[in-house]
Subunit: 120 residues, 2 copies
């Protein structure tokens, strides 16, 4: 029997034991995956309500608006949720580099066997 | 001080307490996020070695080759790892629907306030 979360048109996020779902952001223009982070219910609500990506920082134990200090906000043009409602996909227009390292995307290295190679 | 995982060109995945990293797969042709899942070290190694996506099923507690029974394998054309090496991005050519529901992508619903809307 399919989980009702798969078929419903009601938003019913399946938060994990720590109250979080996973969020992945892709660049609307390039399709690149920019970053992966986590959201609690408040971060998801704020993202939907404001159109700017909010997350929950597991390391700091705090709600976090992406770009709050750097100005590199992620303007959300579309939010999708997956079959079992434990992950969301944000399609965004980034105001600057999405990675705290200054890279446009956090995924700036390719895995080639045991080595990593910088992506142009 | 930046974490050495951010700057190294050595593969050094940061597995969580349960031995997993997060994996997101996007369609090489369309850029769509197809699915989000988890990998243990063996799933990552098999994915790199075989060029087909392998995951760890948290619900079944078992290694899982995507498409093993359905035939809907994900052929991996590129694997990238994020800044802190706790997530990988697979760019794939899917052999069929990526979602077990039969949808091409697990993200077949858009969040609009409290409601979900099916994406065409």
């Amino acid at each position: 029997m399919p989980d009702s979360r798969e078929t419903t048109l009601a938003l019913d996020p399946k938060y994990d034991a720590t109250g979080l779902i996973t969020a992945v952001a892709t660049d609307r223009a390039t399709g690149a995956v920019l970053m992966l982070a986590h959201m609690n219910a408040e971060a998801l609500r704020l993202t939907v309500d404001t159109g700017e990506a909010h997350f929950w920082s597991r390391s700091r134990g705090a709600l976090w608006k992406k770009g709050e200090t750097s100005g590199h906000v992620l303007r959300v043009t579309d939010i999708r949720i997956d079959c079992d409602q434990d992950a969301v996909w944000l399609i965004v227009d980034p105001a600057g580099p999405a990675c705290h390292t200054g890279e446009r995307s956090c995924f700036y290295r390719r895995i080639e066997r045991e080595r990593l190679v910088l992506v142009a």
